[in-house]
Symmetry: C3
Subunit: 263 residues, 3 copies
């Protein structure tokens, strides 16, 4: 696998319709990685932008009627032109509204990959999951089973991130175990990860599952290195060093540090 | 007082309806402090989010019709469920519209705490205040009198921040004299402070005034330490180190550095 | 020329109607420079805010019907009160919609300065320009000719930024050759630059071209110094150090490092 190299060589255009908290961090993270972010949600242009892009990311972190319509227009255009779509169902299950909108989006378009924490994915897939200790169980057997079930139900790649990350298409499953808890102290690290998955899908060809797994593992490696070099400094310094590492981690460093296994 | 410890132990959910300039900084500041930010302004979910939160912060920095309605729905829900509400009247007085909307919000809900600079609070309370040298006079006798008058008039805690900060319920008054002028060179430091007051109110029980005073003093201590360790480096470095210090300042450091007096 | 000194002395109020990706970075950059940013797009107040401001910046990075109307109201108010207007046509040409809206804005108001890359300016001016290698050609003869033609056609100062920057009113032309490629790895550096041009125009009196040229050159000097002192660290560190340098670059440092020539 060397999707990281392809991402940097091809510099794909990534269309993000995302929440108002993370626009800047998402754009800077993608630029650091070596890809071109495009943020646009005007109804008049989202179909055009999705069509010309190499991936579309839909993130429901701050919804309203306008942006839901933007997402549907962009998603349908992406489907029509063979552009992969990543859905990040931020807060699905936290309010009934978010669960409902997520189902609406999935009903209107074909998603390529769904990325969320275990509670979000469970709500999207309509499966039972205790909201307690949301991230604690990730990587354990039942999270894997949930991810696989969701992937088969939704017909897409499902990525559940947590202490360990599960990436599956319902048949083949990867477990990624890089990353660092301080990621949870910086807003938008999950959102940016979904966009990074989109960047790797953009260069994946048919190998969408392998590229998704590499995206997750790469992100975890960058976070680990950043956390090590800013230990004791706090989440402000980590945030900046993490942006640095998205630019600095080479394929060689990635291969050396990556802990990614196929189940 | 040890509200800081309670904040970090209880990790309260803080609902912010805030302006588009400061969403990211506010979320990162709250995460650094140890609480859980939730940004949501969709009419369909704001009442639900306010109900499940431990405090609601309303910030009028960038208004429009949609978000005003969101604020009213969230504020009424908070009132109905005993959730404290902090109002940050950014720019009240700068335009007639902002003053009008602030009055509208106060007419529709009960505010727990109002935080602004002296000109903003004067406009909200309908008191005369020269716009010249807005922050210069904070901490002086007339600012204290204004804060106390506003608190009695509005029936809430009033916090006027400036060179010195006044925290009062109209009866008991605290003066906090930590902080650093470089705070004014980073956008959203006032906005984040209002959200931090909300986080302290979330764990305050009946001691809302004491918790508000501690919030203000804690924030000033974190700023002082960050300013010292980034002296001569500039506002970019200060911003990052300030986020670090929101995570790193312990109750012991706080007690040692805090300059908070009851009048 | 010493517009930098005037900017810091006069601390002008700069009204920005900008995209949701760069609000925070723009505000922090302007604060670092020593001016007062004001972000407002409510229809009820934009005319008031534009009137009281020393410059208005309109940036089309993330459009919708609401904000287009805000821009027209603000632009007309600025024109009526002698306040300079800077237009940043982000992505003009990338979608038909953006080109159309840019033309609409120009039709509704008098722009003082237009700042974009060569492809954006070509689309705004209705001139042919190959979209390939957008920034590569800046500073070459044909870019100068394009800028001059656009300036005469639109009746405003035209600034094309790229490897070299062209600043012209159609008669007199400056070439600025400071700056650093890492600027393209941080989102919003072009957007902030347009706001910085506005800050310099705010103190320029009749010398709008000279002030614009100094703004561009100053920005490039700050970027160069920041890039030097964060070499090998990555775009996260550069972003923070660049904010620092917007505060730290003195008129003396600027004069020493500036490479600005009149053609």
């Amino acid at each position: 696998m060397s999707y990281l190299t392809k991402v940097r060589e091809q510099n794909p255009l990534i269309h993000n319709i995302t929440n108002i908290v993370v626009t800047n961090f998402t754009a800077n993270g993608l630029l650091a990685l070596g890809v071109s972010p495009f943020m646009a949600d005007a109804h008049e242009e989202v179909a055009d932008v999705a069509k010309m892009s190499a991936a579309v990311i839909l993130n429901i972190g701050t919804l309203n009627e306008h942006v839901i319509r933007s997402m549907i227009l962009a998603g349908k255009s992406a489907n029509a032109h063979g552009v992969p779509v990543v859905l990040d169902p931020v807060g699905a299950g936290a309010t009934a509204y978010r669960t409902e909108i997520t189902h609406k989006l999935i009903g209107e378009m074909q998603i390529t990959a769904l990325r969320g924490n275990v509670a979000e994915v469970a709500h999207v897939a309509g499966e039972q999951w205790s909201i307690k200790g949301v991230d604690a169980g990730a990587g354990e057997g039942d999270v894997v089973a949930l991810a696989q079930k969701a992937a088969r139900k939704l017909g897409c790649i499902v990525i559940i991130t947590g202490k360990e990350d599960v990436i599956t298409d319902g048949e083949v499953t990867f477990i990624a175990s890089n990353g660092h808890p301080i990621l949870t102290k910086v807003t938008g690290t999950g959102c940016l990860l979904s966009s990074v998955v989109g960047a790797f899908l953009a260069v994946a060809g048919q190998s969408t599952l392998e590229a998704s797994a590499e995206a997750i593992s790469f992100y975890g490696v960058a976070a680990e290195i950043a956390a090590e070099s800013t230990a004791q400094q706090g989440p402000g310094s980590f945030q900046i060093e993490f942006l640095n590492q998205l630019a600095l981690v080479t394929p060689e460093i990635f291969l050396e540090k990556s802990r990614l296994q196929k189940l």
